[in-house]
Subunit: 314 residues, 2 copies
């Protein structure tokens, strides 16, 4: 019963959304569903599987409802999807997601570029989505991802006070949970500790999760900093799938398998079987032949000192 005494950390697979949305090619629906099934069998229980956006804008996400429905058939799973507006949120609710992720940029410049709305307009959208959820009487939760919280490739600096006030505005408008997202891979561990501390001081436990990219190699270092601030939920992408269209050769989200390796080695309980997860990364490479993948543990192999605990994997 050693496993139960270890502190739990939640790992959220976002590759099907944040990883795939960058790709030129389409991953067929059946491969997306296979990916979710195989990774669920590794012990992963939270998946962000799609964006509810117009298929014309993002053909990769045209099968969002179908993918959500397939994922929801798995036991003990929590399925989330991104929705940037009321129409997308309505479709996500119809698809029976467990939570809607609303991206709200702390950088006005990024907000305009990404969703063609100001930050204030996005807060208004959030309030409308809150009303919609309440009207429908469904238990859909609303998570806000505070994008570019650590800086922005377009506008540069994002003031920490802006992020703190925005987090409070999101809570006031009805967000159940807040994540701070380093959308562009600018964050460093000192900044992570400072900003998570400030936002938590304002909104308490509504600050729930961290979304880090490894664009500049600091992804896992930032996870350590966020762990120190009490965060126990992290987004990651299998094989670090994602990249950045503005920086050739630059990687995207932290790799799920590297995150799980580090957390488990540190003594946290992710409930995920690492060896199986590495096998799943190799299957992803087959589904997306020629695709650049990142992360290190799959190539280097699991250390002899990595203890194999009793995992909750199905």
């Amino acid at each position: 019963m050693t496993a139960s005494r270890r502190e739990k950390v939640e790992v959220v697979e976002v590759g099907l959304r944040d990883g795939l949305q960058m790709l030129d090619r389409l991953l067929p629906t059946k491969d997306k569903i296979a990916w979710i099934n195989v990774e669920h069998a590794c012990g992963v229980r939270r998946f962000e599987v799609a964006s509810f956006v117009p298929p014309k804008l993002m053909p990769q996400m045209a099968d969002a409802a179908e993918v959500v429905a397939a994922a929801k058939r798995l036991p003990n799973i929590s399925v989330t999807a991104l929705a940037p507006n009321l129409k997308g949120a309505a479709a996500a609710i119809d698809a029976a997601v467990d939570a809607i992720i609303i991206p709200i940029s702390a950088s006005e410049a990024h907000s305009l570029a990404n969703v063609k709305r100001t930050t204030a307009q996005m807060i208004a959208q959030l309030a409308e989505i809150r009303r919609l959820c309440d009207e429908r009487g469904r238990s859909v939760r609303i998570h806000v991802g505070l994008a570019t919280a650590f800086g922005c490739t377009i506008q540069g600096e994002v003031r920490e006070e802006t992020v703190v006030h925005l987090a409070q505005a999101c809570v006031d408008a009805g967000a159940d949970r807040i994540a701070l997202a380093d959308t562009v891979g600018y964050a460093n561990p000192a900044q992570v500790r400072r900003l998570f501390g400030k936002v938590r001081a304002k909104v308490g436990d509504r600050l729930h999760a961290a979304h880090f990219h490894d664009t500049r190699g600091t992804g896992l270092a930032n996870v350590v900093a966020a762990l120190d601030e009490g965060i126990r939920s992290f987004d990651a992408s299998l094989g670090g799938l994602g990249g950045c269209p503005h920086a050739p050769g630059a990687s995207g989200n932290i790799a799920t398998e590297d995150l799980v390796f580090m957390l488990e080695a540190m003594g946290f309980d992710t409930g995920i079987n690492l060896a199986r997860l590495i096998d799943t990364q190799r299957r992803l490479a087959q589904w997306l032949p020629g695709q650049a993948l990142y992360g290190k543990i799959a190539a280097a192999g699991v250390p002899k000192t990595y203890s194999t605990q009793a995992h909750a994997a199905a």
Copy 2:
């Protein structure tokens, strides 16, 4: 004068030793010297430039004395070299290094594989090298790198008590400084905090530096953990040059440029100009065409939010 108020962290370029020793090809002496010159101009002031070992065993290091002599011509530089035995140490002293690095493995299995001596025999060597330095009356310092301190690819687990006792034995035998080295990339941040804390409790400030590999993606995360334990000296290799002969595709030392980026972004003063360092990484790629390099910041680019402080670069 803001720069002077920032806390200093020492970055030690070990690529010329730990990076090059793995390569099949030879880097010509003139290119080694150019590398040191160019990186010195970025503000790097500590270089581990060679191993004093039999040229038959390691042809890459046959020019050790010549490289040390060239490096020593640069202003304000500290030049170190590795020497695994008395003969090597004598040659290093003759070459006028500032410090000799003696590698002592915490894993007996690794010690036998690496230097064909037991750990106890290496402690005895260390004592003899101490006597040699004292006899010669030179101000050569002795640094011990405690290899495989976090685990070993051959024997697996290395007991923390073993590392603590070994550190004390090294101090007793005359080591001026101790570094804990994650030779095989097994360390995780929780372990780093624990082991650095235990060793410091035993030997105090003789525990001086950390040597991390990024084989499994945790390199910079481990730096954060060691910073928390008060460590302010880190080894790194430009472009992450090094790799591991036993793990194809696996990277080696943490990349100097990524380390400098993270430290400076966190508010530490390395005295190193990051933009110039990235240019130097590109020159390294020219000196070693086709060579796999690692690290992220060179491909991703420096963030808009990275403030350019007044650096001590020449």
